[in-house]
Symmetry: C2
């Protein structure tokens, strides 16, 4: 960090629209976060000409040529085989590993990014399995939900770690001193298979960590209500919750469209209420909250949605900026250390 600037490594080839979306996105982010500088990784034949059209960006970016771009539909194993060491995705991750950048942003293939990030950056000390955290819009603002797909299967230790990772992110991104944390569970009690969730709750309650307020169990419908700042679960149900919420939002938008389109009177009403609807659409706009974050690795990795546009990519870049500025990695390491200490004290006692 020179003179307070924050340097990000960018996979310029990622996303359905690739550099044609990524570079304009960076230009937008730069207006809002003028201290950013970028290390760009991508094919110079494609990226170079676009970069030239954005002189303010070009002045704050360095382009590193890469021959290989990981296809959006490559399987993680394929991606590793073809892209390790040579792809724009890998080189951007390596840039974080070596300390030349403070976070990496990619709109590339999620599975490939997850595999490469794990392989290149490895887990932080005290974190067995990294988590993918999503920022979820709620009626009260925003919450963090994790894990949304990085690791599958309920394990007590994993849930506890996710609570720590999520709370640290809430502190860094939302600026809440002691975020409220809930464990995602189902309302049906005394059903088999939830021992790990209950155990994780017990551990969190007993640990009584200074970095969070553990609030007990929450259910699926509590997420959108914003009952807690951090919702903790394992990757399978977390991913399904996230996708289901996205699908429901799209479904209701479709109902709304159908309801409005049906009669002339409704269309006139719509025209009058248009500014209100614009605000509604704004709330429902997935681009506004674009970026899932890999937590628990030796380096910050932000995954932007593959199908996003430049505004969405800019949001992901701004999220990276905020997390670096608020020292998320240092916070996570400190919080994990507190838990380890607590456990050691408990074991010794």
């Amino acid at each position: 960090m020179i003179d307070g600037s924050i340097r990000l490594a960018i996979d310029a080839m990622g996303g359905d629209d690739g550099p044609a979306m990524v570079l304009p996105g960076l230009a937008v982010a730069l207006v809002r976060c003028p201290t950013l500088t970028f290390e760009l990784f991508g094919n110079r034949e494609v990226v170079g000409p676009i970069l030239e059209r954005h002189p303010e960006l070009a002045a704050r970016a360095r382009l590193h040529h890469t021959d290989v771009a990981v296809p959006m539909d490559a399987k993680p194993s394929q991606a590793l085989r073809m892209g390790r060491r040579v792809s724009s995705m890998w080189r951007a991750l390596e840039c974080v590993k070596s300390g030349r950048a403070e976070a990496m942003v990619s709109a590339g293939n999620t599975g490939a990014l997850m595999a490469m990030a794990r392989f290149c950056l490895r887990g932080m000390e005290g974190v067995d399995r990294p988590a993918l955290a999503a920022i979820w819009p709620t009626v009260r603002g925003e919450s963090i939900v994790l894990d949304v797909g990085a690791s599958i299967g309920v394990e007590t230790q994993n849930l506890v770690t996710n609570a720590i990772l999520g709370a640290a992110m809430a502190r860094a991104v939302f600026g809440i001193e002691s975020p409220k944390v809930g464990l995602l569970n189902i309302g049906v009690e005394e059903v088999k298979g939830l021992e790990e969730v209950r155990e994780a709750g017990q551990v969190l309650r007993d640990a009584n960590l200074p970095t969070m307020r553990y609030e007990g169990f929450v259910e699926g419908d509590d997420i959108g209500r914003g009952v807690v700042d951090v919702v903790v679960t394992e990757g399978f149900s977390g991913n399904i919750a996230l996708k289901t919420a996205e699908g429901t939002a799209r479904q209701l938008a479709e109902y709304l469209r159908m309801a409005i389109g049906r009669t002339l009177r409704a269309r006139i009403g719509y025209l009058l209420a248009k500014p209100a609807f614009a605000r509604l659409r704004d709330k429902m706009d997935p681009r506004k909250i674009n970026g899932a974050v890999f937590l628990g690795l030796n380096g910050l990795v932000i995954k932007s949605h593959g199908g996003t546009d430049e505004l969405g990519f800019a949001s992901a870049v701004e999220l990276a900026h905020d997390m670096v500025r608020n020292e998320l990695q240092r916070r996570i390491a400190a919080d994990v250390a507190v838990l380890t200490e607590t456990k050691e004290l408990a074991d010794a006692g």
Copy 2:
């Protein structure tokens, strides 16, 4: 069944509003399904006077007095201790067990109903674990999602059985000859922990059952899109998907309310578009699709939402009516037998 009539056993004490909601609900259902007759279980001091106010219902119902009503917040173990053999819930289940009624409907406590139904009715031959199936509104109509909370943990055989149960229900309720079936999965490939889901997919593909079209994996956002008629998953992620969708719908309704309430112009627009909004609310109305079904037991049990009103309860009763009329239980038994046969043939070959 006398002269084509369908007899249902009703837990008259279930639901937040109890008999004051249940009985008017039955009266509504009776208008739409006039061949219904009811065996009512509940406290005669409370239920009797309400029944007198609905003479058409009283003419088609028989009231059996019960002293005990399972509280809405009782744990399943408590409910079994206090309510076994004596509660309105248990007695209504028993009425189905003995063959005096063809299905049971309750708006009582889900966990208690699940525990009692299992205990009283036991699983059908060939079904290890019963499932709770929900009817899910989609942009194309409705789909069945199961399991939404009856049994937790991914097991291959369990997923295969759920596919058969769900397909039989789709045939009975939607009247589709060969319903499309999908397994709920997450898009991230080659992540640990999904072996059982993949295995279940292989079994369904190989079995090539005449009662369904297996369509492969679906993701959370495919549910509301109505990509398949039956979405199969295990109870933890299914329950979370269901609750998350409900929460998201409520959240967006709240956004809509806020967007409309803000300016006079928007309110005038809203007034003009009001009939369109009424249709929209109708689509989003959880009462219209009210009733989850326990499948795989020796008897049909329909769970109405605890917080529902009489219209919602009437929907659950009509669902019971349709399932009995379309011989759901017989279909399930036949479909399970086909799978068992297929397996035996495969094992012998």
